[in-house]
């Protein structure tokens, strides 16, 4: 096509520099990220991320599905925190519909979202440490992550692609023994975080590889659209859970960890502190779990109870209609953002009044965070690129969608 600029081939700008291609198949890029580096000896002159290898057109697919059929698609955007994406999507649709969600469903959503955050941070911590050369942490992190995945399997039937939330509530009551199992986990998990910290936080090798590396200032981070721990690691105190609460987060007490240095170590400390705060929220959710229904009273939107379908004709009709025709959503548009483990995950949904969304756009936190990589690495050493990529915690599924 005529208006396309030619394929970008990064040409060395000077005689002494050369181009180094990193990825898309590279163990430390956490997926299929390709990075083009222009290097002068060991120093990086220019860095250019190249993305799109995992693009699956999820936004386009959503436009062809009923509102309830989009939920499983949202799992597949960010495979490390599917429940966060489920939550953000259903909150957006509920906002379009003007639905009120029962307290128990909201608290369960919070509980599961914080477990998801822990799960995601554990994968990040394990792989990030592995990239920098600390093998043990990886094994420890995956040990605890396994228990969280088993909890997810118990509650939703799936370890990773949970699809547990529904527009108007959650899919099922949690099974017997679920709360005890979560309570056990919340009981021993803080000790495990101490274990990770024993291995890393005071470790001189870890500090040398992370302190002062890939620094970014607060102004740059804001200007480049960074969110989440990438932004809080640079000293900007914002967390959507506290500042623009959703799903009853205003009823929970937690601190928002902020570090000032803006380097890899600062982002590491922010996330490790978040692990502790999240388990605190899980414990509060367990202690204060309200009683009551788990689905909103909205016939025609929320699937009816199976028992009632056997005796009441209307329930059966509603069930049939929701499954075959979906439910119409009043025309309008909403932008709903939640604090995902990686930052601001936002869903912009436009409805034209039919049963299928007119437009679903996912504002991906990693997509914006990745822009900070050039700023972090240019002028620095090539060995630190791996630490920088790890520290912004990218998930390519979310970037490419």
């Amino acid at each position: 096509m005529a208006h396309l600029t030619p394929t970008p081939v990064l040409e060395p700008a000077q005689d002494r520099t050369m181009i180094l291609n990193m990825g898309p198949q590279h163990p430390s890029t956490h997926g299929v990220l390709r990075v083009l580096l222009e290097i002068d000896g060991e120093n990086i002159v220019r860095l250019m991320p190249d993305i799109g290898y995992l693009h699956t057109g999820i936004e386009k697919t959503c436009e062809a599905k009923f509102y309830q059929q989009v939920v499983p698609l949202t799992d597949r955007i960010d495979y490390l925190c599917p429940l966060t994406n489920n939550l953000c999507y259903v909150l957006a649709v509920e906002k379009l519909l003007g639905l009120e969600i029962p307290p128990k469903a909201q608290w369960l959503r919070v509980l599961l979202n914080e477990l998801t955050r822990i799960n995601s941070h554990l994968v990040w911590l394990g792989t990030h440490a592995l990239d920098i050369g600390a093998m043990t942490v990886f094994l420890y992190c995956f040990r605890e992550r396994e228990e969280i995945l088993k909890i997810f399997e118990m509650v939703s039937g799936q370890r990773m692609m949970t699809s547990y939330f529904r527009v108007g509530g959650i899919a099922l009551e949690p099974p017997l023994g679920f709360f005890d199992r979560v309570r056990d986990f919340a009981g021993y998990f803080p000790e495990k975080v101490d274990e990770y910290e024993d291995l890393l936080t005071g470790n001189p090798i870890w500090m040398m590889r992370t302190k002062g590396v890939a620094r970014i200032t607060a102004e740059d981070a804001i200007a480049l659209g960074a969110t989440g721990p990438t932004l809080r690691g640079s000293g900007v105190d914002i967390d959507l859970r506290r500042d623009m609460p959703y799903s009853s987060y205003e009823k929970f007490q937690f601190k928002v960890p902020v570090s000032q240095e803006g380097d890899v170590f600062a982002r590491y400390i922010c996330r490790v502190q978040e692990l502790r705060e999240s388990i605190g929220i899980v414990r509060q959710a367990l202690d204060g779990m309200p009683e009551g229904p788990i689905k909103a009273d909205a016939p025609g939107v929320v699937l009816p109870d199976r028992e009632r379908m056997k005796t009441q004709m209307e329930s059966l009709i509603y069930h049939f209609k929701i499954i075959t025709e979906g439910f119409a959503v009043p025309a309008g548009e909403v932008y709903q953002a939640v604090e995902s483990p990686r930052g601001e995950m936002g869903y912009y949904i436009v409805s034209d009044g039919t049963a299928k969304p007119y437009r679903v756009h996912m504002r991906s936190a990693c997509f914006a965070n990745l822009q900070t990589l050039s700023k972090m690495c240019e002028g620095k050493l090539i060995a630190d690129v791996v630490a920088a990529i790890g520290s912004i915690d990218i998930v390519l599924g979310e970037i490419d969608r």
């Binding site: 096509m1 208006h3 396309l4 600029t5 394929t7 970008p8 993305i51 799109g52 693009h55 057109g57 936004e59 386009k60 697919t61 436009e63 062809a64 906002k95 379009l96 003007g98 639905l99 009120e100 804001i222 200007a223 480049l224 659209g225 960074a226 900007v236 914002i238 500042d243 623009m244 009043p330 309008g332 548009e333 909403v334 932008y335 953002a337 601001e344 936002g346 912009y348 436009v350 007119y358 437009r359 756009h361 504002r363 997509f367 914006a368 990745l370 822009q371 490419d400 969608r401």
Partner: protein, 165 residues
């Protein structure tokens, strides 16, 4: 719970920080505004977007200092066909506002806001890639998710979900 009807009267909305700021600058820049489901949408004149963004970013009372998102909607076959949507966030005031510009289907183009927020770079490239909307003054406008030699813009409504075969 029935939804309250949207408010579209500019007189009623003029106390919102973003609207007050743009009205104080240029009354003609606002085409219309809507307050619906607790969210403020301002539809701006296409030529005003860059200056309006710079203005809102520097607002002393309520600085919309963070660009959350840039995306686009396609209202094919209606005209103006494209709606470029900007979501701004005020980190100090915890306030959001949505800005929109409408573009016609023949060579849709709008000023880039990368000069105001460098972070708009990827978002604008994505809109260019998937909708074919050009951003004037963008430093690096080329495809970002699709391959360089891809034909067509997949998120347009006249592009089939299964693609062309």
């Amino acid at each position: 719970m029935p939804l309250p009807p949207p408010i579209t009267d500019l007189e009623e909305l003029k106390n919102h920080p973003a609207i007050a700021r743009v009205l104080g600058w240029n009354r003609q820049a606002i085409e219309s505004a809507k307050f619906d489901r607790d969210e403020m949408t301002i539809i701006l004149d296409r030529s005003a977007i860059r200056e309006a963004c710079a203005l809102l970013k520097e607002d002393p009372a309520c600085p919309f200092d963070f660009l959350s998102d840039v995306t686009c909607g396609d209202w094919y076959p209606a005209e103006p066909r494209f709606e470029v949507v900007y979501h701004l966030l005020s980190i100090p005031n915890k306030e959001r506002v949505r800005l929109k510009v409408r573009l016609n289907s023949s060579s849709p183009a709008v000023d880039s806001i990368t000069a105001v927020w460098p972070g708009a770079n990827y978002f604008e490239r994505e809109v260019y890639d998937l909708f074919g909307v050009r951003f004037n003054g963008h430093p690096h406008l080329r495809r970002i998710l699709m391959p360089e030699d891809w034909e067509g813009h997949p998120l347009r409504k006249d592009y089939p979900v299964e693609g062309y075969r």
